[in-house]
Subunit: 407 residues, 2 copies
C-alpha cells in the first residue's frame, strides 16, 4: 500500500497541529503503508507574506511574489520533517523544485508539466517519508512558481500519480462530502463514495473542500482521493471513477449557494456577438458570472439574465446600466436576494424524470423557479433566497437521501 | 565597475530598511555600476525560525533546520527584488541554490565548493540586479545547506570572486574599522584601509563586523572588501591586500576584550601529551580556549594558564579541579576579572621595538601584565580588567593613533 497524504493549512496551523499531523503519518506507517506527505503553509502565513509584498509595492513582481510565498510551505515541510525525525521516523523535506515538480512559467497560476519524483519513491519504498511542499514547483529556468491558491491539492494528486500511489488522502477540517449541508439538513448523510464528475459539480457549487483542478487531474489518471478529517480519525469520502461507484439512486446530493444576485438586461438587439458585448466588460472587471440564461428573442430583441456573486452586484449593475444605454436596450433589472439550488448525480444520465421530480417537488412547496440551467449530471435552479432551506430539505427528502433511522 | 553589495540583517530589518537598501542599490546603478546584491534574513527572523524548530524538537534534524532557516533570506531577497522592480529596476531574487552556490553537505556549517553564477553575471552586464540569498547553498544532492551564522559575508565575497567584481561592498551598522573602540577612546580614527591579515586579527578579537571566513576568502582571491554603513553614506574602510596598504606606522589599531577569565592549573607532571590531557575535556565541553601560556617547568612539574570566555568560567573551573585531582596536580586558580588588550599591525614585522614600547607604556601607567602572547602581526597581553580603559587609551596614544586636531 502506497499513499500520498496531503495536509492543508488548518491541519498544520500551529506547532501543536503539526504534531497531530505527525501522529497521523506515524499511524499509517505503523500499518506498513508507504507514505509521502504534501503540506500547505501554516494557516495565515501566506497572507502574512503577501501583505508584506503589498506593503512594499502595489503590484509586486509575480516572479518575486512566488519566491516569497513559497517559503510558507517550506517552513511547514521542514517543521514536520523535524517532528517526524524526533519520533525516529526518517523524513526529509523537499521544496517543489527539489521534489521534481516542473511547471509552466505562469507565476501565481502555474500548471504542472511533469513530476520527476523517483528519488521520493525510493525514500517511500525504504520506509522513509518525504515531506513535500504543496502549491509550488519551478519553471524550466529554475524560477520558483506557485500553482495558485489551493494548488496544494493538485500537487498531492500529481505526486500520487508520479509515485503510482494507491490513493491520495486529502486531510482537511471536514470529514467528507455530505448529501447536502448537514447544518441545514440534519438528515444529510456522509457519502462513502462519490464520482469525480459529481465532485466537480459539488466543487463548482462552493463545496470548497477540494480544488477543481485536483479533481480533474485525479479523474484523468483515475487516482482515488480519500477526503478525510485531520481532526477526527473516521473514514471520509472516497472520490473515485464512476465505474467504481456502486449502483445507486439518480441523485447523490443537493448543493446550494446563497451568495447570488440576478441581473437581467432587457430589450437589447439580438445580433451575433451580443453576448460578448455584454460579458466582455464584466470579465474585465474581474466579476465571475455564474448561471446565464438567454430567453428566446422576439422581433429582433432579446433579454439576457445571469447571476453574479452578491458582493459584485452593485458594480455589475453599474456596468449593465452603461451598456444598456450604449446598446439602446430597454431596461436593466436586478435582484440580490436570490439563491441557487442544484441536484447532482451521475445516475441522472440513465434515470429519466429527475428534472420532472425536481420541479414537481418545488412546485408542491410553492417555490417559484426563476431560472433553470442543466448539465449532464446537474440541474440548477435559481429561486428566491427565503425559500432556500425549504427547497434543499424537500429535494433531499424527495430524492431519497434522508438518513434512515438505524434499523 | 562591477560590485557585489551585501546587506546584513539590520540593514534589511524592516520594510522601511529594505526601501533604504533599494535607495543604495539604485544610487550605485545610477553611477553606471553593475550590481549584484546579497542579503541576510531580516533581523530576528532566523531566531524566530530556529525557536519554532526547537519547540518542535530538542535536536532538530540538521538538514531540516537548514531548509527551515534558509527561508529567512529568501523572504528578504524577494521583498528587495519587489521593491527594486517597483522603481523600474529589473531585479530577480535567487536562492543560494538558484544562484549556483554548491557547498559541502555539512549542514549548518557548510563550506562553499563552487559558485556557477554566469547567469547572474549576464543580468549584471545587462544592467539588471540579481538579489541573492546569503548564508546558503545546496549540496551535491540538491539539499539546502547553510554556511553558519554570519555566512552571508562569505557568500558575498564568493559571489564577488565568481563574477569577477571589482570589490565586495559589505553594508553593516558601523561605518568602518577604527583604530580602537571610539566609545572608549574619542580620539579613535576610522581607518581608510586595512590589510586582510590585520582584519583577521581584529575579527578574532571580537570586532564582529566581518566574519573571519569571509576575510580569509577575500584574501585568497585578493578581493577588496569595502566595509561601510547602510545608515550613513560616508566612505568606510577598505580591506585590501598588504601591498595596497600605504606605508605607515607599525601599529594600525588597538583591540580589547573584557569578556575574559583566566585559569591556571599548577604543579602537574611535565610530560608529553599533558596539554592534550588538559584541553581535551575543555574542547569536549564546547568551551573556546583563547590565550594559552605554559610556564617553563621546574623539577618535572609545570603550570598551564589559559583564558576562556567569562560565561564558561565556572564550568571550566569544575573540569580543571577534576583534572587536577586525576593528574595529582598541586592546585587550580582562577580569576574572572581579567581583560585582554592587543596591538595589531602588519608594520610590526619590519619595525623593531613594538613589544618594548607596548610593555613600557603599560609599565609607566602601573598596569601589571599577567600573560603575553604574540603572533606575527599582533601582541596580546592579559591584564586586570579595571585597567582596560587606561591601557587602551595609553597604547592608542603611544603608537601615534590619536586623531590630530584639524589643521
Amino acid at each position: 500500500m502506497r499513499i500520498v497524504q496531503k495536509f492543508g493549512g488548518t491541519s498544520v496551523g500551529s506547532l501543536e497541529r503539526i504534531q497531530k499531523t505527525a501522529d497521523i503519518v506515524q499511524a499509517e506507517l505503523a500499518r506498513g503503508v508507504q507514505i509521502a506527505v504534501v503540506v500547505s503553509a501554516m494557516s495565515g502565513e501566506t497572507n502574512r507574506l503577501v501583505a508584506m509584498a503589498n506593503e512594499m509595492s502595489e503590484q509586486p513582481a509575480a516572479r518575486e511574489l512566488d519566491a516569497l510565498v513559497a517559503t510558507g510551505e517550506q517552513v511547514t515541510a521542514a517543521l514536520l520533517a523535524i517532528e517526524l525525525q524526533k519520533r525516529g521516523v526518517v523524513a526529509y523535506s523537499y521544496s517543489g523544485g527539489q521534489a521534481g515538480f516542473v511547471t509552466s512559467a505562469d507565476h501565481a497560476r502555474a500548471r504542472i508539466k511533469s513530476v520527476e519524483s523517483s528519488h521520493l519513491l525510493r525514500h517511500m519504498q525504504a520506509g522513509e517519508v518525504p515531506v513535500v511542499t504543496g502549491f509550488q514547483g519551478v519553471d524550466e529556468k529554475g524560477s520558483v512558481t506557485t500553482l495558485g491558491r489551493g494548488g496544494s491539492d493538485t500537487s498531492a494528486v500529481a505526486l500520487a500519480v508520479a509515485v503510482e500511489a494507491d490513493a491520495c488522502d486529502i486531510y482537511t477540517d471536514v470529514d467528507g462530502i455530505y448529501t447536502t449541508d448537514p447544518r441545514m439538513v440534519p438528515k444529510a448523510q456522509k457519502m462513502e463514495r462519490i464520482s469525480y464528475e459529481e465532485m466537480l459539480e459539488f466543487a463548482s457549487l462552493g463545496a470548497k473542500v477540494l480544488q477543481t483542478r485536483s479533481v480533474e487531474l485525479a479523474m484523468r489518471f483515475q487516482m482515488p482521493i480519500h477526503l478525510r478529517s485531520s481532526f477526527d480519525p473516521v473514514v471520509g469520502t472516497m472520490v473515485v471513477g464512476e465505474d467504481e461507484t456502486m449502483e445507486r439512486a439518480a441523485i447523490s446530493g443537493v448543493a446550494y449557494n446563497r451568495d447570488e444576485a440576478k441581473i437581467t438586461i432587457m430589450g437589447i438587439p439580438d445580433q451575433p456577438g451580443i453576448a460578448a458585448n455584454v460579458f466582455g466588460p464584466i470579465a474585465e472587471a474581474g466579476v465571475n458570472v455564474d448561471v446565464i440564461v438567454q430567453n428566446v428573442s422576439e422581433q429582433g430583441y432579446t433579454d439576457i439574465t445571469f447571476t453574479v456573486p452578491r458582493s459584485d452586484y452593485e458594480q455589475t449593475m453599474g456596468i449593465m446600466r452603461m451598456l444598456c444605454e450604449q446598446m439602446q436596450g430597454r431596461d436593466v433589472k436586478g435582484d440580490d436576494t436570490v439563491a441557487k439550488v442544484s441536484v447532482i448525480g451521475v445516475g441522472m444520465r440513465s434515470h429519466a424524470g429527475v428534472a420532472k421530480m425536481m420541479f414537481d417537488t418545488l412546485a408542491k412547496e410553492g417555490v417559484n423557479i426563476q431560472m433553470i440551467t442543466t448539465s449532464e449530471i446537474k440541474i440548477t435552479v435559481v429561486i428566491e433566497e427565503k425559500y432556500i432551506e425549504l427547497a434543499v430539505r424537500s429535494l433531499h427528502s424527495a430524492f431519497g437521501l434522508d438518513l434512515s433511522p438505524p434499523a
